[in-house]
Amino acid sequence: MSRVNPGAYRAASARTIQNEPGVRDSVGSATRTFDANRVRAFGQIDSERWRDWARDVKTHALTNLDRYLEEAEMRLLANGAHVHWAESADDALRVLADVVARHDIRSAVKGKSMLTEELGVNDHLEQLGVRVRETDLGEYIIQLLGEPPSHIVGPAIHKSLDDCRRLFHAHLGTAPDATPETLAAAARDALRQDFLAADLGISGGNFLAADTGTVALIENEGNIRLSTSLPRVHVAFVGIEKIVPRLEDLSGLLQLTARAATGQPIGNFVSLIQGPKTNEEVDGPEEVHVVLVDNGRTELLADDVAWEALRCVRCGACLNICPVYRQTGGHAYGWTYSGPIGAIIAPGMLGLAKALPLPHASSLCGACVDVCPVRIPIPDLLLHWREQAVEEGLTTTAETIGLKAFTALAERPDAFSAAGALLRWTPWSAAGRSLPILGGWLQERSAPHPSQKSFRRLWEEGIE
């Protein structure tokens, strides 16, 4: 995996905010556009009912996960695909290494996929001596930059148009002031060579329909279609939570996901892959491998509160609306999944101690509750992990003592109001800076002014 360091969130977010103001501008405007499109697209359908339906379908699939996964495996095998079960990232990468060795793979093309990012597929392929090319435009940009994606749907949204102009000028020789169309055309030309040369195509999977063994992929650029049909071999990495019972369920889920993600009624391209090409077919890979990946998902499923996060369809809508995410973009979160969804699955998938402070990277404003197409109660899950952290003793001593003392006071009204009076004696600006909680406040803001007298005093004196 490229980098897993959520623990550095505070430092990383502060650094982005202070040193890279352009990131905040790019992320802010891109996410606001995404969200405005979502609002419009949700407005065109009875989105409340669709969301109820989608929640129920995904919940049903998750509560019968084993059954549907086995059904999907059976169908895929019958369709002529190979199916692999990967408990860990290492297992998944081993499958890939076998395919590479058996087919003597030299170069690969890859469609946008967060799971392959989570698994560290690119690094692994390079270690195996395979040249791998990201073919989604945004992914291509960040691959050239050597950066991980900063958003589930728009991997390069932290970059401005000028950033891309400079990058393409250096790598592809486009004019320094090229139009976005020219830049896209230049990328397309460069990528065409990679598509033609590749003997392996790699993809993720947005959904897996059990009844037919169908891997469904949504995209806008046609690069996934090419990556999964041109090369001889196709390997699809699919998270086990992507399962849905029936092919029929896809019709609603594909539409709702597109509306939530980009505001489109449906993605420009939807590929439904059931296996290798048949004898009658001209196009398509000779061999298809579907790797069903767990990598921490069953652990999340075992958590009786946080399992709901597995309904996620990775639409990015919660990132787009999140005022915390908007300040920094995704890199500060320190692992593949950022924003609200990243903060609620990190503790389940990485372990709580490693995931902190991500569950605290939220003001609990609740904006994400209104947008999630599968109704994941994100703030409740954040609270759940915070409670878990307290229970496991993963908080600072200062905070624990502070809150316990505060609680003890709050149960004794006389002591509470006496303590309140002390606020007027607090050395707000000077000594306060070294105190744990007050210090954090004063770092970024002027000292608050307590009222001259508390309301309690005013009340006792009589209010006119």
């Binding site: 605290h360 609740g366 904006a367 809150l403 609680t407 009204p413 970024e444 005013l458």
Partner: protein, 241 residues
């Protein structure tokens, strides 16, 4: 028979917005309500609850439940604390009494519009331009949206559109101290989009402290004064005229 209301000042407003609490009392009395201030009240428990200290929050909830056991209505100058009681008390304390208290609990502007059926207070804000900040919990937990704006406009104020009026200010209780840089950047977004108005108002003291504190910090060394930030209780009392 006069209506009786117990004011839950909330720990933050008691100390930082004492005059606004007094204005809430004046406003309610002006509207013919008998206001009581149960003296044993302290904190609703929200800071502990949001930080994950469920057991501690439960103790404060139990205390608050006992304080307001007999109140006909509980009115708070805070959407956030009202939201805590309404949405979360049933999770952390006796469900029956918690739900019952929830039904009797209102944020100030919500109480004026939905219980007292106030349409207009007076014309005391004539000629004033105002920006209203929607506290997240008032908006999303209580559904308080048009109420404060209707009351402000009804009193003659011109409520100026604000692009970021429904975005979080970045307070979030301990969040503001744990992740101060992100929290401040959130406040900056609010302040950067703030229209030119006579004052900014909101129903939550926490948000007002965050926005005014950040606004003052940004002006340090720069000329000019910051836009005043006022609690809605004071704005509405002025609205009576």
């Amino acid at each position: 028979m006069t209506m009786r209301v117990a004011l839950f000042a909330t720990c933050l407003a008691d100390q930082f917005f004492a005059e606004a609490c007094a204005d809430a009392v004046r406003l309610l009395r002006h509207l013919g309500v008998d206001v009581d201030f149960p003296e044993r009240q302290t904190c609703c428990g929200q800071p502990a609850f949001n930080a994950g200290y469920k057991a501690e929050a439960a103790r404060m909830a139990a205390h608050t439940l006992s304080v307001f056991e007999d109140a006909e209505y509980v009115v708070l100058p805070s959407g956030s604390c009202a939201g805590m009681i309404r949405s979360y008390y049933s999770e952390i304390s006796d469900e029956g009494p918690a739900l019952d208290l929830g039904k009797r609990t209102f944020e100030l502007s919500q109480f004026l519009v939905h219980v007292l059926n106030v349409e207009t207070l007076g014309r005391g804000l004539s000629g004033k331009t105002v920006a209203y900040h929607h506290g997240c919990h008032a908006l999303r937990e209580l559904g308080v949206d048009s109420e404060p704006i209707a009351l402000l406009s009804g009193a003659g104020a011109q409520v100026v559109p604000w692009e970021a009026d429904k975005e979080c200010c970045g307070f979030g209780g301990l969040f503001s101290a744990k992740l101060p840089e992100v929290s401040a950047a959130m406040a900056d977004r609010k302040l950067d989009t703030l229209p030119n108005v006579d004052f900014v108002t909101s129903g939550d003291g926490g948000c007002l402290l965050q926005l005014s504190g950040r606004s003052q910090r940004r002006r340090v060394g720069a000329s000019g004064v910051t836009t005043p930030f006022r609690h809605i209780a004071s704005a509405l009392w002025e609205g009576v005229g």
